[in-house]
Symmetry: C2
Subunit: 406 residues, 2 copies
Amino acid sequence: MTATDEREAFPVGLDFEADAALIEGKTRQARAALDRHDDGVDCWLTFARETTATPDPSLPLLLDFGVVWPTAVVVAPEESHVVLGRHDAPNARALGVHEVHPYDESIREALSTVMERVGAERVGCNWDPDDPMADGLSHGLYRRLTDLLPDRELVSAAGYVGEVRGAKTDRERERVDAAVRTTERLLGDLREHYEPAWTERDVAEHLRGRADTLGLGTAWDRAYCPSVHAGSDGEVGHTRPGDRRVPAGELLHVDFGVRVAGYCADLQRTFYRPADGAEPPAGLREAFEAVHAAIDAGKAAIEPGIAGHEADEAARETVVDRGYDEYAHALGHQVGRHAHDGGTLLGPRWERYGTAPERPVREGEVYTVELGVDTEWGYVGGEEMVVVTDGGAAWVSEPQRELWRL
Amino acid sequence: MTATDEREAFPVGLDFEADAALIEGKTRQARAALDRHDDGVDCWLTFARETTATPDPSLPLLLDFGVVWPTAVVVAPEESHVVLGRHDAPNARALGVHEVHPYDESIREALSTVMERVGAERVGCNWDPDDPMADGLSHGLYRRLTDLLPDRELVSAAGYVGEVRGAKTDRERERVDAAVRTTERLLGDLREHYEPAWTERDVAEHLRGRADTLGLGTAWDRAYCPSVHAGSDGEVGHTRPGDRRVPAGELLHVDFGVRVAGYCADLQRTFYRPADGAEPPAGLREAFEAVHAAIDAGKAAIEPGIAGHEADEAARETVVDRGYDEYAHALGHQVGRHAHDGGTLLGPRWERYGTAPERPVREGEVYTVELGVDTEWGYVGGEEMVVVTDGGAAWVSEPQRELWRL
């Protein structure tokens, strides 16, 4: 079967319209945010070049193509503009969202004209020490901007990026949902396909192969997606799947996600390979329940307006109260165009995370809720996805409620 | 046939050893450059995070894996170090090139220790207003570095990046050569496979399909690789292939490259679809000869020590002397891990290109030499690749010497 045939036979719809309408919606969202806020920022400037090698994560929210020459997308409350090399102008016109200003030798004049047009004094730019997704402006391009726009004040647009990127539109939610349904399905099917002779690498190749036949990419770097850990004898982390197999009576842990029409899923499932058909030992069941009780507690703490660390604390206390070590990472990150989609983090107030755990949780944002504990049978890890509603949070994934048997 | 079978049957060897030896070579090259230069820079610091979304183009020269948490690679004349999250440490140890310093909550202490160890006062960092490949440090991470390293002087490492990235080692050259041989083969085979009913999109899908069956990626964004222009009735630029066909007596122009083991090719070929088997008209042959005479003149001007714009001038004069409009882009860019690989540019001194055309051409660098002219039969474009030798330049591609007939 071709990828097209596989997609048609697959129970999750995977084909979506082109990105123009989605980009139109994100641009409208950004214009509304600029209109609403009272911080003196007159426009949001995304400034990028050679996006194959040095992408700005904000650009795909605003354009459906990559660029080579320096390119500026300027969003203001009443309008939006794109200033770009003449070669790229046909793509911008085909998109039809922004007013198009092509240039030949230098971006300087056309960019100044647009800045005059929108009356920009304070210009929000894409930098943020703590949030990679709001930090797409390189330091070299920042220096170039200070030369191109000597009379404007450049400030961080991190607040806008966090808000616009985070709150998913309906068109974005459809794609996230399809990625989650697909990932759940491929992980669930592993119970039928798995063979005891399989190494971690075989498990990984099986899952990637299924994504390939559907014509889907992985949600993060293919060498680490999925991440697979077999049995109790390995280091859990961002490592490539190796040649360990699952001993009878031990665990298989998989962290996986596919990308559908530009949007990601990120889920963990823990499988038990029984010895002689036996039930999992009581200590293992307790560990599984502790992990999922903590995930439930984290989800219960999520509502618009809390700071990210509050949800982390609820989960962290739960797992520690049950006698396990606390997890060495954040409870949850946002998911969108990337598996780690930046903005507010449901994380502890550790220096590594900067201000991200202090930031507010907002309606429409999609988060993972994830943690795990080490046991003598292997790593028990759980990762679900939730969306923030007007008064709390709703599952996006269907939570794992028991160990899956291999 | 599977991709593995296709690769084995293909006349170009496409399988290379893992990247560790290549990275060891690039690290040695960087250490030697730091040792040789007398500009007071004590070490070269590459500082990156979440490299799936916000890659630093220098990182793949130094590590064979991506990272999530803030990660610092520090190269000094006598040693090299990597400071990274504990989860990523197994990958760094497996690479075996740098001394590994894992951290848990904050990079601050471990990074300071390494800076003490290498006696760093002036620290070269990855920023450059004019060179995207030397500009991987985001402005947010730059601000974070000024906080993490308050007592060090941060300066641009652009000179080092240009030198280390540009001059290809033998292991890199083998991969570039394989990418060029493969791209030439796929473009050449188009003469047999082409059908008159094909649209630009069909040509693009055919070439991408052949790369897919070999398990190879495209050298730049898949939506624009190849770039295809059929006949005289279209705009040549960074546009997606459309539904135009080649009228009899007109041209097909293709700009294409594959990536082999991380390294790219970038070539243009022009094809003529004869009307009733006729020879190309004299005016078309003259245009083709003018383009290739200019490419030859550009190549002849290349030698170590010239500034990039000197080669551009030689080619530009040649095509103008023959009565054609000058081309609206640079004569050539470097090719390596990316199709546009930064550093010195064989380009005119236009503001858009900043200082890149003023920079020196160095032995071991690989460049495109490319230009085209519009004619009544369509766009005549040529693009070859050369490597800089100790006294001049040698072809990497086999230059197109006549119009290829469809």
